[in-house]
Each structure stands twice: as C-alpha cells, then as structure tokens.
C-alpha cells in the first residue's frame, strides 16, 4: 500500500488558525507531543482575514464593563439558543487570553494611558474590541504562529486530512495527503483537536476562502459526532458588491464602529426603521443622538442603529434593495467619509482604504462604499462539552468555528477571535490531559486504510466524468438561491434533492493529471465534505419552522417561543442523516435574570 509515512503524537491538531494554534500551544504547555496539520501554508488560515477586533471585557475604555455584561450581550445576540455555560466561560476567560497575546508579542492599539484600546461593535453594550487598526486577525495569527513554532509544535503544512479513525470507541488517528506531492500520510494520535473552521465555500457570495469546506464537521460526523444548529449561517451585512469578481469580500464592521453610516438610494439613513424591540432601549432613535454618540459622548447617548446585530443589519439591507431603494449594484451605501476626516479613516481603517482603492477604484475618504450581505460564518457545528470542547467521540475535540454552542442563532462581531483563543486553549489542555491517560497508540486496521486511500484516488481511473469545479459552481448556485439569507420550505426541500444529486455526480467525477499539487483533485476531496455539510444545513433549515437570528423563514416569519427551547441536531442513524431536537440547557436563575433584566 502507498502509505509509507507515519507519525505519532499525543495530540494532533487539525487546522492552524487561531483556535488550532492556541490548542497546540496549550497541549504543548501541558507536556504533550503535538502535531499541527493545515491545508495551507502556516499563517494563511482564515484568522488572518479577521479585521475589526477581539471582544473581551477588559474594562479599559469603559470601567463599567465586566464579564456579566459581555455574557448578557452574547446571549441576547444569540437569541436564546447559546449554550449558557460556553457563553459564561467565554466572557470570563477572554480578557486573560487577550492579555497573554501581548506577552507573546502582539501589539494592540493603545489608549492615552498606555493600556489596550477598545472599539465599539454591533451588539456589544460597551467599546470592547481590542484591535490593531483593521488587521487584528493578522496580528493574532502571526503572534500565535511564532509562539507555537518556538514552543516546539511539529507543523505539517499544505497537508489535508480527509478521514478520521476510531478504534474501540476512541479516536485513534487521521489520514491525510501532502498537497505538493499527493503522497499519503498517517497520523496516529491519542487525542485529536478539530480546528478546521467553517463552510462558506458552498455559497456564491462569501467572504470565505477555498479552505472553508466543512472538513472537520463532515469528518467528525462520519465517526459519530453530532452537528448542532447548522441552520444558523451568518450573512455579514457588509461585503463588497462591486466589481463582480470581488463580490463578497469583507468590509469590516469596524467601519460602522468608527462612525460609518448606512444609507439607501434616497439618501435615507434607513436603519432607524429596523430597530427590534429587544434593542429599542439601547439604541439611538434620532440621527442627532447617534451623531453625538459617534462624536464621543457615549455615556449620555445610545448606540447608532448601524451597530445592531449582524442578522438585523443584513436583513435590513436586503429589505431596502427589495423595496427598490438599493444602490446601482444592488446594495446599500456605507459612508464613513461623511463622518470622519481622511486622516482618521486612513489611520483606523488602512486596509479598507487600500482594498477599495485597489479593487474597486473607490476612495473611501471621499465616497461611500457599496455593500451588501456576504456569507461569513457558521454558528452551527460539532456539538461539544462546554468545559472541555470534547465531542460525542471520546478523544475528539473541536474548537473555534467548527464547534457549535457559544453563539446560538447569531454571533456578535469580535466574539469569534475571542472564541478561538478561549476554547482553543481549553480544547488543547483537555486533549493533552486525556491523552496522558492513554496507554499507547491504537492500531488502525491496515485494510481500512487501504480501502480509504483507494476511494480517494478512484477519480484518476475514470474518463469523461464531470470536472469537480463544475460541481462546486452548481453547489454555490443551489445554496445561494435556495439556502440563502431568506428561506422557504419548498426551495429548501428542492435544495436537499439537488445536493443529493450533486453527491452522486461527484462520485462519477474524473480527474486529469497527477496527484502532485492538483487543485482539481484537491477540490474533489474537499467537495465530499462540503456536500455532506450542505445537506445538514438544508435539512436543519427546513426543520426549524420559525425565524430566529440568522435563520429567516418567509413561511414562518416570527420567532416561536416553544422553539427557543430546542436546538436542531443532525446525527447519523444507520447511515441516514437524521434530525433530532435537543433541549437547550437552561441557565440558573441568577444568570436568567441577568439576561432578561441587565446587570
């Protein structure tokens, strides 16, 4: 068999964004031998694109801030479906996780007194996001990457894991191939942490890169883990809409955090018409009040409605376009030039300035940007234990976007970068601890390895089948049209049929060329995961007959007070993808009061 290269580690981490790197560091600190495998070069994972900042209740800018306010904001933003224990851990531990980055070399922007500065963001009561201009993710990934390398983590880059194995009920290893050569490699491990990120590559308009194909979710599902809340897919309200080739590229929420306003083709600042009851008390109801807040008086004025949660803003933009008040290219105007001078904009939003200048020929210090919703994040994912991030499969952990629970039905901006470091750390520490209790490495059957390899090289032996890129395009069309920002039963039902047909078509694909750095073959393998996860999203979206957070059903436009008690869970039952309702854990009385009535 073509499997000469084999490695053994106490803990194997799959994915090298913020969560994977932080998990690898934690496992290493706990004394484990650690392998870190990633599909791209080190430092190119999706974290590098995060712009606005990392949320943590440091209380630097507003001393009134503390974990309780952050917890409450997160739970309200998630529309009641968050796992309260994850939300509490996250709010309590984020400040330490952010400060420790500074000890490892991260340089965040400062306040006058020399402490870390924080900026306001949607759904956060106080200015809470530690940031580095609009390139916070780059600073975090570079810091974590260099720290992990110097701590002695073994890095395997441009190496794609495509199958996990369990032996006697516990995780035992992972099979991967090197992208540069196409050679196979087996990783045996006592524990595995999944940190593979999201699923955005299934949609036409997305801010996500080629890597986001749901590998971790699909592989975990295949070995018995459950997928929770998959219907909750976040459309970031502000992606570029023009030119067509960059449609979907992210425009940071930091633009609105720094005072940017949203207007329609009639010049109206329309968000004032879309303030939900839940946020009425906390949101400015006149432009004057919003402007006074933006000018700096944040104690006596409420936040502008542009800083409502992402689900609310995205849907408002869609409604304006549908009402015929969209921009020439079908979006809304996002205007920072009207509120800030050019020097301020260039200092606070340098990469946005360059992005628009170079890709769209627009000078954002003079003109408004055209923006519209872009698929950005999935709140759903692998179901995990809140404290350890362990999945239903013993020894298998999941942290970051691949995991579910923290964000409920809608994620607040800035809560992803903090999620990565908080649960990355917890998963890595827990994985190392359970690895230490294992006697040795479990033997994976050689014939199973052989069969798995034969499956993935099968398309090279075929002729005249589909090109994998055609299937990918078709999937993007299906999900974009039928599992998009607003949903209805019939199209969702159709989408499930379409996805199943595409899964069959994928099986008949043929691949030209060799295995060495062959994007056609790589895409074919990734599509196996992506189609499986797409089916889980469509099934979960069909099952939830209400509108809540990021999930909007035209045929069920209201939230159902009964359904807030249940999460949608997808699991394998005898080879069939099955939906079950899982009770949402209820917070203790004091936290309940905190959520409903405030701190």
């Amino acid at each position: 068999m073509d499997l000469r290269e084999r490695h053994e580690h106490d803990v194997l981490v799959i994915g090298a964004g913020g969560a994977g790197l932080r998990a690898a560091i934690a496992a290493k600190e706990a004394g484990a031998s650690v392998g870190l495998v990633c599909k791209s070069l080190l430092g190119k994972a999706h974290t590098v694109m995060a712009e606005g900042g990392v949320a943590s209740a440091l209380g630097n800018v507003r001393p009134e801030d503390n974990w309780k306010v952050h917890f409450r904001d997160t739970m309200r933003g998630g529309k009641g479906l968050n796992d309260w224990r994850m939300a509490r851990i996250h709010a309590q531990e984020a400040p330490d996780r952010v400060r420790e980055l500074e000890a490892w070399g991260a340089l965040f922007d400062r306040m006058e007194d020399g402490r870390m500065n924080q900026r306001p963001f949607g759904g956060h009561t106080y200015a809470r996001l530690a940031h580095v201009g609009d390139r916070t993710g780059l600073e975090m990934i570079r810091t974590l990457q260099d720290h992990a390398v110097h701590e002695g983590v073994d890095v395997f880059m441009e190496c794609t894991v495509f199958r996990l194995f369990t032996v006697d009920g516990r995780i035992a290893g992972a099979l991967a191939y090197w992208r540069p050569t196409g050679e196979f490699v087996l990783f045996r491990a006592k524990s595995i942490v999944l940190a593979t990120g999201g699923i955005g590559k299934g949609w036409k308009v997305t801010s996500n890169s080629w890597e986001y194909t749901g590998d971790g979710m699909a592989m975990a599902y295949d070995v018995g883990a459950e997928l929770l809340g998959m219907e909750f897919v976040q459309f970031h309200p502000t992606g570029m809409v023009w030119p067509p080739s960059v449609a979907g590229t992210l425009v940071t929420e930091g633009v609105r955090g720094e005072g940017g306003i949203l207007t329609n083709s009639e010049g109206e600042r329309f968000m004032f018409r879309y303030i939900p009851d839940l946020y009425k008390e906390d949101t400015a109801d006149t432009e004057d009040e919003a402007d006074r807040w933006a000018a700096g008086d944040r104690v006596n004025n409420r936040r502008p409605p542009e800083l409502l949660t992402r689900d609310v803003v995205a849907k408002a933009i869609v409604a304006e376009v549908e009402a015929g008040r969209g921009t020439p290219h079908g979006g809304a105007y996002l205007d920072i030039a009207a509120k800030r001078d050019p020097e301020y904009i260039k200092a606070k939003l340098p990469s946005m300035y360059h992005q628009f200048k170079e890709l769209a020929g627009v000078d954002i210090t003079v003109d408004a940007m055209e923006v519209g919703p872009t698929l950005h994040y999935v709140m759903g994912g692998v179901k995990v234990e809140p404290e350890t991030a362990e999945t239903a499969v013993p020894g298998l952990y999941a942290a970051g976007e691949v995991a579910a629970g923290l964000h409920g039905a809608n994620r607040l901006g800035g809560n992803s970068l903090s999620d990565l470091v908080v649960f990355g750390q917890r998963s890595g520490a827990a994985a190392a601890e359970s690895a230490a209790a294992e006697e040795g490495y479990r033997e994976i059957q050689e014939d199973l390895l052989e069969k798995t390899i034969e499956e993935v090289i099968a398309p090279f032996g075929r002729q005249g089948g589909h090109n994998p890129f055609e299937i990918q395009e078709e999937l993007k069309n299906v999900l974009g049209a039928k599992v998009g920002i607003v949903r209805t039963a019939d199209p969702l039902q159709e989408a499930i049929g379409d996805i199943r047909a595409l899964r069959n078509a994928l099986k008949a694909c043929s691949i030209d060329g060799g295995r060495a750095y062959n994007p056609g073959w790589n895409t074919w393998i990734d599509l196996r995961s992506l189609l499986q996860v797409a089916e889980a999203v469509a099934m979960s979206a069909l099952d939830r007959q209400e509108s809540r957070g990021a999930h909007t059903r035209l045929d069920f436009p209201d939230s159902d007070p009964e359904l807030v008690k249940h999460n949608t869970v997808v699991r394998d039952e005898g080879g069939r993808m099955t939906i079950v309702m899982d009770p949402v854990p209820s917070p203790p009385e004091e936290l309940r009061t905190l959520i409903d009535e405030g701190v």
Partner: protein, 246 residues
C-alpha cells in the same frame, strides 16, 4: 466582456513552458480570477496558491509580466488591451508545480530568529505603551509573508543565498520584534551571522514590491544594519573589546 490572452507557466522545476489560454474578462477582474477561470474551463490541474483573495494573506504571489505581484490585487485592466499577460512562478524559489513554489526555506529562516522576549510586566494587567511607540513596530507587523520581497532581492533571486541570508521578509520580522517597546532580546549577533544582513546593499527593490507598502529598507534593514555596525565595526568599541579579551 472581452477576450484576453494569457500565458501561464506549466511545469515543474526541471522542465516546463508557457501555455497560452484565452480568458473572458469581466469588469474589475484580477489576474487570480483569470487563473481560476482557466482552472474551471481548460485546466483543472493548474496549480496556484491562494486564500483570502483580498490582499490580506499573501498566498498568491507570482510574477505578472516579470514583476512580482499579488495576483489577487493585480487588475487585468492595468495592462493594455492588446497585451498578452504572462504569469510565471516566483523565480527565487524552486518550482513545485506551475505557479506554486517551494517556500519552506523561508519558514526555516523565521524559526532561527531569536524569539520575542518581553521585559517584566509594568502592572498586574500587563504593559503600558504609547500609541506612537507601537506604531513603529506595527508597520513591520503589517507583513503578510507574501515573499515578493524575497523574490525580487538579488541576493536570493540571482545568488540563491537562502542559507546565508534570511532576506527582507525576515529582517522585517526581526525589526517587528526589536521595535516592540517591551522586547529586551539582543538580536545583533544573529543579524550579522545567521541573518547575513551584510549581503544587503540597499538597492530598495524590496520596498518597491511590498504590497503592504512597508518601507522595508529605510525603516527595518538600515536601522538593523546600524546596530550591527555599532557593535562590530565601531573602531573604538572594537578596540575596547580587543583589550578586554586579552
């Protein structure tokens, strides 16, 4: 929509040639879009690295008409309509396939840099720094590791001194650590010996190609060179060292 002709390198480090492709070009398209279109229509096995497609990750560096560029930020309309656009891999590195090169030496060079080493905390909750102090280092921290500066640097491109010279990318990285207001590590010996900073003769090619507009030569390499000169080539200090050694 207009048709344009591209020539793309197909092959590995031993052999290869420029392959012509016709691409339907839409408004605003960048060179990476053309490569992706070729993958979808003509050559699914055409190898290219990319991730963010927004100039933030530094994966898609290649040479467009011989100039090192991020292909995701290079608009096709920047080239005259009748001009053939040639896309070739970065010349300073061995080719793996097509536009993908072996950049692993860069990662080894990075590992050799003495790590960040902070002074004791100023307060229980960390350090106090002023914005103007952090901004100098932040310029270096903007580096997206696209390796275009490595590609254009003649020490690496023409003389292949990868083992003796860490290159502009990693002088920027070293400067990022050393300019961090709380860092106390001494990297001068590293810069002189393993870093090989003496090979740089300040032609500023690296600064010209940097997509993040980092003033690599003036703000990182020259100040680092000055430290090395102060330590090793200052005649009075050398004399003092000589006497002490005896």
């Amino acid at each position: 929509m207009a048709e344009r002709t591209f020539e793309v390198y197909r092959g590995d480090d031993h052999s290869g040639e420029l392959e012509p492709y016709t691409v339907d070009v839409d408004e605003g398209m960048v060179v990476l879009d053309a490569i992706h279109q070729i993958q979808r229509t003509d050559a699914p096995d055409l190898a290219v690295r990319w991730n963010c497609k927004a100039g933030k990750c530094g994966s898609c560096g290649a040479e467009v008409n011989g100039r090192p560029k991020l292909t995701c930020m290079t608009r096709i309309s920047d080239y005259p309509e009748d001009e053939t656009i040639t896309v070739t891999p970065m010349k300073a590195f061995p080719v793996i396939r097509d536009l993908v090169t072996d950049v692993s030496q860069n990662y080894r060079n990075n590992e050799a840099i003495p790590r960040f080493n902070p002074r004791p905390k100023d307060a229980e909750d960390g350090w106090r720094m002023q914005q103007y102090e952090v901004e100098k280092a932040q310029e270096m921290r903007k580096c997206i590791e696209c390796f275009l500066c490595q590609d254009v640097c003649h020490v690496l491109r023409s003389h292949s001194k990868h083992e003796e010279f860490i290159g502009p990318t990693y002088f920027v990285r070293t400067a990022g650590y050393s300019m961090n207001p709380i860092d106390v590590e001494d990297r001068t010996e590293f810069l002189k010996e393993r870093g090989g900073i003496g090979y740089c003769n300040i032609t500023k090619c690296c600064t010209e190609v940097c997509p993040e507009h980092i003033t690599i030569t003036d703000n990182s390499i020259i100040p680092l060179k000055e430290r090395v000169v102060d330590r090793y080539y200052d005649p009075i200090k050398s004399l003092v060292r000589l006497i002490r050694r005896k």
